[in-house]
């Protein structure tokens, strides 16, 4: 969790990734969402320093960037846990009981969707359809799909992940 110790004002040290990103795109407003997608992919969230850099590069106000970041559910402002568990609450999964999986997950980790456990190990996310409806209900851990899920299967996965390190 080095991130937290650093100054959050955003105008400090250089960041290689962001510098490189700014050479790959033209400085026009239309590229904001594309660049944010890359930032989210790289850091796992959209840190303030990235917002600041994009604001200067694309000549968009910070407020506008904040507006866009909070509009789209893929972008997050807080770092996700080492293991990000997403439960699909799309209709096909819902009909097959994915709410029970979500309830159990919240009960086990004692956090709500969008939050990260204090040790930074787990975070929970609600997702709408990963497209694996044939395997409903599904949850994913860092993008890896676990299909035909049950509460028992979830418990097993959580136990395994908790035991690591």
């Amino acid at each position: 969790m080095e991130e937290e110790k650093q100054c959050q004002c955003g105008n400090n040290e250089k960041d290689e990734f962001l510098e490189k990103l700014c050479t790959e795109y033209k400085p026009i407003k239309d590229n904001l969402i594309q660049m944010l997608n890359e930032v989210q992919e790289h850091y796992g969230y959209v840190p303030i320093k990235a917002q600041k850099t994009l604001s200067e590069f694309l000549k968009i106000t910070m407020a506008e960037i904040y507006g866009v970041v909070t509009f789209y559910s893929r972008f997050t402002l807080k770092p996700k846990g080492k293991y990000n568990i997403a439960v699909c609450l799309g209709t096909a999964c819902y009909v097959k009981g994915s709410q029970k999986i979500m309830d159990r997950l919240k009960e086990r980790l004692k956090i709500e969707p969008g939050e990260t456990t204090k040790d930074g190990k787990f975070s929970i996310e609600e997702t709408r359809c990963v497209g694996a409806c044939g395997l409903a209900p599904v949850f994913t851990v860092n993008g890896e799909v676990y299909g035909k899920a049950t509460v028992q299967k979830l418990d097993q996965v959580l136990d395994e992940l908790s035991a690591k390190e």
Binding site: I33, F71, Y72, C88, V95, G131, L135, V145
Partner: protein, 618 residues
């Protein structure tokens, strides 16, 4: 760069080479092992199956066998799926460990691996793909190439008449003729609203401008729908080709595909397809030696359902919050960066190359009077054969759910099916025989939608279902207009009241009135259609709403707060553990006697349930 002659050469040679893919009687010693690489099968390790096959074939030095990745075969419930052609043997639920046996028994010894053969719903073993009931009533037009070709190989697409339609259009047809052909075909928008495609192209063509755009809406937001994803994953070139035809027709030289970032496989294959098409000179300048130029770029969505609405999608491509614009002006007049823009959905595009090649007469001979062609549905929920199906318009819901879908699992009863996702409505058992087309679905209070079709059995509470959809709409409402932003929230609150036993009969009336107002007053399709799930469940399952409001009862026990906890006197042994653990002293009865729950005191916490050693409480 390839010339037309070179592409024709590829088509001819490759087609002969791939004949065994579509012809079970092909005269060849070759065998092709097709491994499904749709999202469903990929999630259950189909890439490892592919690797294993390749490894074993190399180790054993087997000749005349090729292993190929393909798009979705449709029957996702039985994945991962492996098909061996030309004999068309269909292996289901294959694991990486099964590869050895398939190679040994099937390829080397020439026998079928019985244990991996797919079983139909009636338990019979299926030898060939086309013997499966799931495929019998289907007609594949948009999905024609899915599961047949390798989507990452442009030559395989070319082999099956790929890029022949654009060639025909450029060489033989004027833009007006293309419009005319589409109008005669009767094709309507497959994104849900069903606007006649030919008409849309004609209108966009009619506006004069220095720059026009073609956009493909691949922001498939309906949770539980994966038709567009499967087309993009299984046959990406067909979308590119149709967009080129659109560009030629309306006079645009630039196309954008707006696709969900949640579909990484689709994005990757699209990217590859675009690169290959550019390499061949099919995208770029002077296409096929004419002065037509066209290029396509991908734009990623970032998880907002409302971006499936065409004007919100345009805002998003421009890098802004995806909030819908006021219409008119429609995108045909003022779209991307204020320029005339043609927007069609993935499935609509997938139909166009086939119409150009086979003619409008052929296409319009399929379907019903006002809805021509086929429709792809993502069949999901409580149904045996979960997967992707394409049926002619006019097929009844009963045929889809029972003949193709194989009916409801666990011997339960069909209760309702939801089409159109959060914008659509539910269809009860009494309308199972309605032929599905745009008009008939609207008449019974649902809509075609983009193609999500979720089946529900009799354990599902319809009030909870309405609540589920409203939760979705509330979280996805963009916030621009008041009726949708605040109205849907109020509707959700009423539904929450009903589900927790706090509702009254008056709430049902208020819910209905609010729903109608939101329908009329919202700015975009999301708000206008958000009340549909509530109105249609109210229409067909009003009794259930009344039970929740008046009798405080949920017949399916899905609403926890309404569930009544009872002790079964037959099973109760009088141990008293429940009494000991009850936090509110709601359980009455003397030592060693059967206990009873006092419903006035009970808070339905469920503590007694977990503590009863005899499972006597339910």
């Amino acid at each position: 760069m390839k010339t037309i002659e070179e592409i024709k050469e590829i088509r001819k040679n490759k087609r002969e080479e791939l004949d065994l893919r579509v012809n079970t009687k092909a005269d060849t010693r070759e065998k092709h092992i097709l491994v499904c690489h749709g999202t469903g099968c990929t999630s259950s390790k189909s890439p490892r199956i592919l690797e294993n096959f390749k490894k074993i074939i190399k180790e054993k030095n087997i000749e005349n066998v090729r292993v190929i990745m393909t798009g979705c075969f449709g029957l996702c419930a039985k994945g991962p799926i492996v098909i061996i052609r030309p004999e068309d043997t269909f292996y289901s639920n294959v694991t990486p460990a099964d590869c050895e046996e398939i190679i040994q028994t099937h390829i080397i010894e020439g026998n079928r691996v019985e244990r991996l053969l797919c079983k139909d719903i009636d338990g019979s073993l299926v030898n060939r793909l086309d013997e499966l009931n799931f495929y019998k009533k289907q007609k594949r037009i948009a999905l024609k190439n899915c599961g047949v070709i390798n989507p990452e190989d442009i030559d395989e697409y070319i082999a099956f008449d790929g890029y022949k339609a654009i060639e025909k259009v450029l060489k033989e047809m004027t833009p007006d003729q293309v419009v005319d052909e589409l109008k005669k075909s009767g094709l309507r928008g497959r994104g849900g609203a069903g606007f006649p495609t030919g008409k849309k192209w004609e209108i966009t063509k009619g506006y004069e401008a220095d720059q026009k755009y073609v956009v493909c809406n691949a922001d498939e937001g309906d949770p539980g729908a994966f038709m567009d994803r499967s087309i993009l994953e299984g046959d990406p070139h067909s979308v590119l080709e149709s967009m080129m035809i659109a560009g030629y027709t309306i006079g645009a030289n630039k196309g954008y595909i707006y696709v969900r970032a949640e579909y990484p496989i689709a994005v990757k294959r699209l990217q590859k397809a675009i690169e290959q098409a550019r390499d061949y000179g099919i995208l770029g300048k002077n296409i096929f030696g004419t002065d037509f130029e066209f290029d396509i770029e991908i734009r990623l969505g970032a998880g907002a359902f409302v971006c499936g609405e065409e004007t919100a999608l345009l805002e998003s491509i421009e890098g802004k919050r995806g909030q819908p614009r006021i219409k008119p002006p429609f995108p045909a007049e003022s779209g991307l960066w204020g320029k005339p823009t043609l927007i069609n959905n993935v499935e609509t595009y997938a139909n166009i190359t086939r119409i150009i090649l086979n003619g409008s007469e052929w296409y319009s001979s399929i379907g019903t009077e006002n809805s021509k062609g086929t429709k792809v549905f993502a069949l999901g929920g409580n149904v045996n054969n979960i997967g992707l199906v394409e049926v002619p318009m006019g097929t009844t819901l009963r045929e889809i759910v029972f003949d193709i879908g194989g009916g409801i699992p666990n011997g339960r009863e069909f209760k309702a099916a939801q089409t159109g996702g959060p914008s659509g409505g539910c269809i009860p058992a009494e309308h199972l025989d309605t032929p599905i087309d745009y008009e008939s679905l609207k008449e019974i209070g649902s809509m075609m939608g983009s193609g999500g079709l979720i089946v529900m059995d009799n354990t599902k509470c319809m009030v909870s279902l309405a609540k589920f959809y409203l939760e979705f709409t509330v979280s996805e409402s963009c916030g621009k207009c008041t009726p949708c932003r605040i109205g849907t929230k109020r509707m959700l609150e009423i539904l929450e009241k009903l589900c927790s036993g706090q509702g009254t009969e008056n709430d049902i009336y208020r819910l209905e009135k609010l729903a109608v107002n939101i329908q009329k007053a919202s700015v975009c399709g999301l708000g206008q259609s958000a009340p549909n799930p509530v109105l249609s469940t109210l229409k067909y399952f009003r009794d259930e709403f009344k039970e929740h409001a008046i009798d405080k009862r949920c017949r399916t026990n899905e609403c926890k707060s309404l569930a009544k906890i009872q002790i079964d006197p037959e099973k109760c042994k009088g141990c008293g553990l429940c009494q000991k653990h009850c936090p509110v002293n709601a359980i009455e009865g003397e030592a060693r006697e059967k206990r009873v729950i006092n419903p006035d005191k009970c808070i339905k916490c469920g503590t007694c349930l977990t503590n009863c050693p005899f499972h006597a409480i339910n």
